[in-house]
């Protein structure tokens, strides 16, 4: 079984986001970038499945500018076998990414595609479901547990009401929740070894996919600031304020 894992390079989750003064976006210069956190869970799960003997090859793929390769390299360092970097310098919407990934799936014929449930930059939560739609494959989103059988997967999904379990036939798309597993760190020897693993570079423009944005970003702004609050001196004062000033209890 072959598993394709899609990863995205985003601003590190510990970085305080700063909005550009001209309203055109957020500051990314000299800002620490990392792999989108739930994409790390996607890689980890693929590696665990391979370690259990149920998968033979893991391919990590990313779509983005030159430096996006770093996320593929990181995936190689924790156990992916080879990488694909679809190079594109402009911003790509999830719809276009899903069309690009469809081309890669058609080329590589994986049995499973894993990715994070949502990217922490645009917070769209679309790409996996869109790819599943284009391929007419089943989708199991927000996965917190995956059991691999011969021809199907049992996936437990994190939903608002609690946990839902579904069975999807292979081939399938799985989007991963942070609770799926605990991603491992790459060891130094594995980081060194990963440098020798191949990353194939493909120009997005050679794939014949329409990547023009359909959504215009008119303005990016800071969220409204909360009015500065006060410190209260005692529990008594707190309760009085909540009762008589805020009127919430």
């Amino acid at each position: 079984m072959k598993i394709l894992v899609a990863v995205k390079r985003v601003i590190d989750y510990n970085v305080q986001i700063r909005v550009k003064e001209d309203g055109s976006g957020v500051v990314t210069d000299n800002v620490k970038m990392s792999t989108n956190p739930p994409d790390d869970n996607a890689i980890e799960e693929a590696v665990k499945i391979k370690e259990s003997g149920k998968a033979t090859e893991i391919i990590a793929v990313t779509v983005g500018e030159e430096k996006a390769q770093e996320t593929v390299r990181k995936a190689l360092a924790v156990g992916a076998d080879r990488g694909i970097h679809v190079k594109i310098d402009s911003t790509v919407e999830p719809l276009a990414v899903s069309k690009i990934l469809k081309k890669i799936v058609e080329k590589e014929n994986p049995d499973l595609v894993f990715m994070g449930k949502q990217a922490i930059d645009d917070d769209c939560n679309q790409t996996g479901q869109m790819l599943a739609a284009h391929l007419n494959w089943p989708q199991a989103t927000f996965a917190s547990k995956i059991e691999v059988n011969d021809k199907s997967l049992q996936v437990t999904r994190e939903v608002d009401e609690g946990l839902e379990t579904i069975e999807v036939n292979i081939p399938a798309i799985i989007t991963c929740d942070l609770r799926l597993n605990e991603p491992r760190y790459a060891s130094l020897p594995n980081i060194m070894k990963a440098k020798k693993k191949p990353i194939e570079q493909i120009n997005a423009s050679d794939l014949g996919v329409d990547t023009n944005p359909r959504i215009e970003h008119i303005k990016i702004e800071e969220p409204p600031k909360r009015k500065a609050g006060i410190k209260v001196a005692s529990v008594e004062e707190l309760v009085q304020k909540l009762k008589n000033e805020a009127k919430v209890i």
Binding site: D122, A133, I218, P223, L238, V248
Partner: protein
């Protein structure tokens, strides 16, 4: 053209977030139709028809829709999507799972998780977990939009008399089977919709100490939340997690106890109307978003807090 809202329900009743999404949809266009895909869901159809701002209810009733499977819902929606300018649903796990599948097959770039309707093609949506707001304009002819439910009031549920039209089912997928759903049962209000939320963090030091939180929650009829640190430390189960990677809550009152206020936690609660922080570290970032901060040891403050609440004659529920 009219707008089509996809209802979430359990074949017995409408899920509350659908009512918030109905409000948002009616701000896009008043000619609002609701699509109900279910099995033996006549009661749901009736209650949707009684929502005054709903103009028409389209009901697909077939046993294949007894459980919600995105693939089956998508096929049903696509069969009836032609006549509509917008397809809309709530941006909870229901709509997040469903809408992109619909959008992709219509070749539409979806606008996710909007918090404001500026015009029928322009919306405000949070990005970077709410650390920035983007005003976005969709240039697709037809639009697929998901609504952040907590940003819109719930629609009125009585007084309407919309027509209920029965329409045809679509084909069923062979590739996805529903197995089961474990719903977390609790006597408390649901975290996502509670009027009051009290959350504990790593400062609680153990799962047993969450009893201090529970006691206050009982008194205030509050839902119980937690920081990721408390969940990771095993003090409490993960459905309580508030934050970028947990639930986003917007209660009237949010009480953060022993929570330092990591960026990822703030993203899940900083839109709350009134925020209280109780923390012994006066420099903790949680105080920067708190309306009322109390610098104190929670092990002393929480019992005192309960005592003071007991002294009050009345408490809002």
């Amino acid at each position: 053209m009219s707008v089509l809202l996809i209802a979430e329900h359990n074949n017995k009743e409408v899920k509350p977030f659908t009512l918030n999404a109905i409000t948002a949809a009616s701000q896009i266009d008043q000619d609002l139709h609701v699509l109900l895909i279910g099995s033996k869901a006549d009661d749901v159809a009736k209650s949707l028809s009684e929502v005054p701002i709903v103009k028409k209810v389209l009901q697909i009733d077939h046993e294949i829709y007894e459980n919600y499977i995105a693939e089956n819902y998508t096929a049903a929606i696509l069969k009836h999507a032609d006549k509509y300018s917008h397809i809309i649903c709530s941006a909870n796990t229901f709509g997040k799972n469903l809408m992109p599948r619909v959008a992709a097959l219509l070749d539409i770039s979806q606008v996710s998780d909007i918090i404001k309707v500026i015009s029928p093609d322009t919306f405000l949506r949070p990005i970077y977990a709410g650390n920035a707001f983007a005003t976005v304009k969709s240039n697709d002819k037809k639009k697929c939009v998901t609504i952040r439910p907590t940003s819109f009031e719930a629609a009125e549920t009585t007084g309407g008399t919309a027509e209920i039209e029965k329409i045809d089912a679509a084909d069923q997928t062979e590739n996805t089977k529903f197995i089961n759903r474990e719903e977390i049962k609790s006597d408390r209000p649901e975290l996502g919709t509670a009027r009051v939320v009290i959350s504990g963090g790593r400062g609680l030091q153990s799962g047993e100490n969450f009893k201090l939180i529970t006691d206050v929650a009982d008194k205030l009829n509050a839902a119980i939340g937690a920081s990721r640190a408390a969940v990771d430390a095993g003090y409490i189960t993960n459905e309580h997690q508030v934050g970028q990677t947990g639930k986003v809550v917007v209660p009237d009152l949010y009480i953060a106890v022993g929570i330092s206020g990591a960026i990822q936690h703030l993203a899940g609660m900083k839109e709350s109307k009134v925020i209280v922080a109780i923390n012994k570290d006066g420099e903790a970032p949680i105080f920067s978003v708190a309306d009322y901060g109390l610098e104190a040891d929670l092990f002393e403050a929480l019992p005192q807090f309960l005592e003071e609440l007991n002294k009050l004659n009345t408490i809002q529920k």
